[in-house]
């Protein structure tokens, strides 16, 4: 996981290009998911929104009041860009109710926030666990494909996935209810 959001933001403000790369890497999936999953933008529109969001983040980092508030700020910027895009497209091609899309998008963002917290906790696990869980759940690769890539039999991949999921759950529940990874964004982990 490494640096907190606040540390990354501070380095970005100082003109550290490597920090900007890390910031984009950390938030790329989140912004992408808000555009494509929460607001269901088609690929071309989602790409425009994605670039617009990071451009605004880059230009306006100095206006961020609290460096720990990066995640909600990025979520709001992305939400705003998605809604603007939906409105512009609706003017050209009326379709599904915009208000309904907005409400559904807001619900989905709340769930993506949880997913982001899980993603941060994943970053605290071993490289092996990160790779196998990312390939299987995020990249939708089969046991066989992962096994071929890692030189392991599919049965070993299955048991590794199972073991790593348990570790991830323990990480999310661990340490007095506060996940060290989530501290990067100042979030408390929600577990049932």
């Amino acid at each position: 996981m490494g640096e907190s959001d606040a540390e990354l933001v501070a380095r970005c403000r100082a003109g550290d290009e490597r920090a900007w790369h890390l910031l984009v890497e950390r938030y790329a999936r989140y912004v992408h998911a808000i555009a494509t999953h929460a607001f269901r933008l088609p690929a071309e529109a989602a790409e425009d929104v994605f670039q617009e969001v990071f451009l605004r983040v880059y230009e306006r980092l100095d206006t961020l009041r609290s460096d720990e508030a990066l995640r909600p700020w990025i979520a709001q910027l992305t939400r705003r860009c998605c809604i603007d895009r939906l409105r512009a497209d609706r003017r050209e091609q009326p379709g599904e109710g915009l208000e309904r899309l907005e409400a559904a998008g807001d619900d989905a963002i709340a769930r993506l926030d949880e997913a982001f917290t899980v993603r941060l906790a994943l970053g605290e696990l071993s490289a092996d666990c990160q790779e196998v869980l990312d390939r299987f759940f995020c990249r939708d690769e089969s046991y066989r494909t992962i096994g071929d890539q890692l030189g392991l039999p599919p049965g070993t991949i299955a048991s590794r996935i199972s073991r790593c999921l348990v570790k991830l759950r323990e990480r999310l529940e661990g340490g007095e209810g506060r996940n060290p990874a989530a501290a990067a964004s100042g979030e408390r982990v929600k577990t049932r």
Binding site: G15, E17, W20, H21, V24, E25, A28, R29, Y30, V31, H32, A33, H37, E47, D48, F50, Q51, E52, F54, L55, Y58, R111, L112, E114, A115, F116, V118, R119, L122, L133, D134, F137, C138, R139, D140, S162, L165, V166, L168, R169, L172, T191, R192
Partner: protein, 81 residues
């Protein structure tokens, strides 16, 4: 649903963004520096400004900046076109 299943569902909600999108966003600082240079030159040289406005995409590509719509729009805005 077990807690592990719920965690697995949440993981699946964040697939990777396309690599080209991520790369372009990471290059924003460099693109910004190139834009600054182009705008500065355009302000000092009217002929260059006309040439630039005639084909923003080509000018960006010649400067090594991928002419993505958001960058082209930004350059157009800064040139007051």
């Amino acid at each position: 649903m077990t807690e592990e299943e719920r965690i697995a569902e949440l993981l699946a909600l964040l697939p990777p963004a396309p690599e080209a999108w991520v790369r372009a966003a990471q290059q924003l600082p460099r693109a910004r520096a190139e834009l600054d240079g182009l705008v500065e030159r355009a302000e000092a040289d009217a002929a260059f400004r006309r040439e630039l406005l005639a084909d923003l995409e080509r000018a960006l590509a010649a400067s090594g900046v991928e002419p993505r719509p958001v960058v082209v729009d930004e350059l157009r805005r800064r040139l007051g076109a």
